[in-house]
């Protein structure tokens, strides 16, 4: 074999030589400037992740204030008005300013590297999307200063994250707090749609030579699915916000019940966005699991085609389940039956995925390093979250528990137990690639165990006040309801999780300066991002890679037994 016809191994080998990225010492101002004007997908990815982590701390602090308020019955730690603002801002922030940016951040960073591309398809659109999302976050939080409403009591939005009409109409929500909410969500939506278009174009049009769709790593596959979902699900929210703003500023009547407008229509529009949004958040978590579990089991992913089909299937089914958030609003028996059954249908592709992960673990040489620990916890917690999801999908059961703490526990099981745990796994797994240094394993294990203990104290126990009838979003409760001890356990668990997150933050900062040097491929992994240096140079790969299988680095490391021989 003549090496001249084989650019791929050369390109990869050059990467494995760990040539240090050439850097010129510059002033502090030049450094900041270079980050602000950057169109590099890696830097934008890191900006997204840092931005999301800052808001994670903010929204986490809001959650802790909610938990302090609920620690005792008749507590008056915060006023009822402040409490409304806290849960509104907590929900809105966690979904729009933490969940979506951090997942887009990892997508930005990883998708071009995994498909062997130089950058995203549209680098400047990428920068625009990030900065408009960042602007949306600042706008939302500026409402604390700028949103003064009736009698000076209003500041931050207080209409809950789903902002049911007509509560958001001018008559019931005077002042500007709701305007800040609507405009921030609108701007954030524009950023999300821009990023989604960019990821789709990148995955389909920027793949390196030989990377057919059947060789595409699962992470880009899932990000393509997510991007499609963003396009069809976030756009309705953008449209609904435009309608709300037309009502508030131009005197329209979309949700004005006195003029014949409908409160139910808003609920439909919101949940047409709201439920696919759950999958927009959870599919990237699945994507991380798809990459991490095989590497730490030392086996190729089990059932790759089934995984792709299941992910795309989840994407489509999730578009037809939204009204299971609305069983108590009152629908026809056909509507109830349809949305019960369609919701249960989601459990089939998710079940396929779960069993494929288990089959990947089966017989593997499992390494219990921090990313894998979080992934294993994710598997357990995701199954439990799915089971309570099936319970809630039954309309008759839902009528009993709608808007109770059982629902709050269920979706936090998904959002924290599955998504946040996999985000932590992804941070431990890809931090070495992003910074060139390993995160401290001892602190990682401490973080993991604190997180597991805190999570289960909070969210296992939170199901019970719900079953006992405690509604969500209440400011306080009576002492004789039997909810006190349960709420106290939940609150203590919340603080343990907060400590766990602080351990992570310390680890992130500490390891950036003192961590062990990672080298290009610390986990002995198989996808292309590990073929280049850590951190990768601005151009990613010295020579455009060429791949011949799903695991190009396996082929490179095991020339006697390459995957490509079995395709």
């Amino acid at each position: 074999m003549g090496t001249d016809s084989m650019p791929a191994p050369q390109g990869i080998q050059t990467g494995l030589d760990r040539t240090a990225a050439v850097s010129r010492p510059g002033t502090y101002l030049e450094l900041v400037h270079s980050w602000i004007v950057t169109v590099d997908h890696k830097r934008l990815g890191i900006l997204y992740i840092c931005y999301a982590l800052v808001f994670l701390l903010v929204a986490g602090a809001e959650a802790l204030m909610i938990r302090i308020q609920l620690f005792f019955p008749h507590n008056d730690f915060v006023s009822p008005y402040t409490f409304n603002r806290l849960f509104t801002m907590h929900g809105t922030t966690m979904v729009f300013l933490v969940g979506m940016p951090i997942l887009f951040g990892f997508g930005n960073y990883l998708v071009p590297l995994m498909i062997g591309a130089r950058d995203m398809a549209f680098p400047r659109l990428n920068a625009f999307s990030f900065w408009i999302s960042a602007f949306a976050g600042l706008l939302l939080y500026y409402s604390f200063i700028g949103g003064v409403g009736l009698y000076g009591t209003g500041s931050a939005p207080d209409v809950a994250w789903f902002a049911y009409a007509p509560l958001t109409e001018k008559a019931f929500s005077p002042g500007h707090s709701t305007d800040y909410w609507a405009v921030a969500i609108l701007a954030n939506g524009i950023g999300s749609i821009g990023t989604a278009i960019n990821i789709l174009a990148t995955v389909f049009c920027m793949r390196c030579k030989g990377m057919t769709l059947s060789r595409l790593p699962l992470l880009p596959w899932l990000y393509a699915t997510v991007s499609f979902l963003v396009l069809v699900a976030v756009s309705p929210l953008t449209a609904a916000q435009a309608m709300l703003l037309i009502d508030r500023y131009l005197g329209g009547h979309f949700f004005d019940t006195q003029m014949g407008g409908s409160a139910i229509l808003w609920a439909h529009f919101f949940w047409i966005f709201g439920h696919p949004e759950v999958y927009v958040l959870v599919l990237p978590a699945f994507a991380f699991a798809n990459e991490i579990i095989p590497v730490f089991s030392r086996k190729a992913i089990f059932g790759y085609p089934a995984m792709v089909a299941a992910s795309v299937g989840i994407g489509f089914i999730s578009l037809g389940v939204w009204a299971h958030h609305m069983f108590t609003i009152g629908m026809t028996s056909f509507g109830n039956a349809f949305f019960t059954l369609s919701t249960m249908l989601v459990s089939i592709p998710t079940g396929i995925k779960t069993f494929n992960w288990l089959a990947t673990l089966w017989g593997g040489k499992i390494r219990f390093q921090t990313p894998m620990l979080f992934s294993i916890a994710f598997l357990f917690q995701w199954v439990i979250a799915g089971l309570t999801g099936i319970m809630l999908s039954v309309s008759a059961w839902n009528w009993q528990l709608h808007n109770s703490y059982f629902v709050v526990a269920h979706f936090h099981y998904v959002l924290v137990g599955a998504i946040v745990f996999m985000i932590f796994a992804a941070i431990y797994y890809w931090y070495p690639k992003m910074t060139g240094r390993m995160l401290d394993e001892r602190l990682g294990k401490l973080h993991f165990w604190l997180m597991v203990i805190g999570f289960h104290m909070t969210f296992d126990v939170m199901h019970f006040p719900g079953l006992l009838g405690m509604p969500r979003q209440i400011f306080t409760y009576e002492p004789d309801r039997g909810w006190t001890l349960l709420n106290q356990i939940v609150s203590v668990g919340g603080f343990i999780q907060a400590i766990a997150v602080l351990v992570l933050v310390y680890n992130l900062v500490h390891s950036y300066f003192k961590g062990v040097l990672a080298g290009p491929d610390p986990w002995d992994a198989w996808t292309l991002e590990w073929a280049t240096t850590s951190p990768p140079p601005a151009y990613n790969f010295v020579v455009d890679p060429v791949v011949a299988s799903r695991r190009p680095l396996w082929d490179l490391k095991h020339p006697e037994d390459p995957d490509s021989a079995f395709e």
Partner: protein, 198 residues
């Protein structure tokens, strides 16, 4: 390090990928379609639920002229696409200008219609549910026409000062795809507002 035999990679022939401009425009069209869908659903849902007039039947007249202009512009933009592909810049300029002109006529027609509704029929966005839904949906479409027109005008400037050549036909095609979408949406809006809703 040993190298991997990659002969089958070479056997796979030319590596072809879809064009990123077209994929991105398809993505944008998907997103925009969802936005229009929501406004269309609201329009249909609120038909006949008004507590006060005027009703669509009383005030709306079918805008035949504007519709013919807008829909025929899709044909002229195709002629322009073909012209630039073959490097016929003069023909491109002509068909492109006709497209812009037809779009402008459509907008003018809409403007006259709105003027009649506001001045003569006293229907504003504030009057009733019909007014809210009508001006939002038709206005959303008209704003897309305006955006398309602005982009076509920029292209026209490049065509007139000679910066546009046959190798840019691909970019023209991406823009034309957007314009076809704007026209296709009008078919839906027209059907909903003037046929079903009247």
């Amino acid at each position: 390090m040993a190298t991997v035999p990659l002969e089958h990679v070479r056997n796979e022939g030319e590596w072809k990928l879809p064009s990123r401009g077209m994929v991105a425009m398809a993505g944008l069209i998907t997103a925009e379609s969802s936005i229009f869908l929501i406004f269309v659903v609201a329009y249909l849902y609120y038909l006949g639920r008004d507590v006060q007039g005027p009703t669509p039947k009383e005030v709306l007249e079918i805008p035949y002229f504007g519709t013919v202009c807008l829909l025929s512009s899709s044909g002229f933009i195709m002629l322009a696409e073909r012209a630039i592909e073959h490097g016929k810049i003069a023909a491109f300029r002509l068909w492109w200008a006709v497209t812009i002109l037809l779009a402008a006529i459509f907008l003018g027609d809409t403007g006259l219609e709105w003027r009649k509704l506001i001045v003569h029929d006293n229907l504003t966005i504030h009057t009733n549910l019909f007014g809210t839904c009508f001006y939002s949906l038709v206005g959303l479409h008209a704003s897309h026409v305006i955006i398309g027109m602005l982009m076509m005008l920029v292209t026209m400037v490049f065509a007139l000062n000679g910066h546009l050549r046959a190798e840019h036909s691909y970019r023209v095609k991406v823009l034309a795809l957007y314009w076809h979408f704007v026209d296709a949406v009008w078919v839906v809006v027209f059907t909903v507002v003037y046929v079903v809703g009247r």
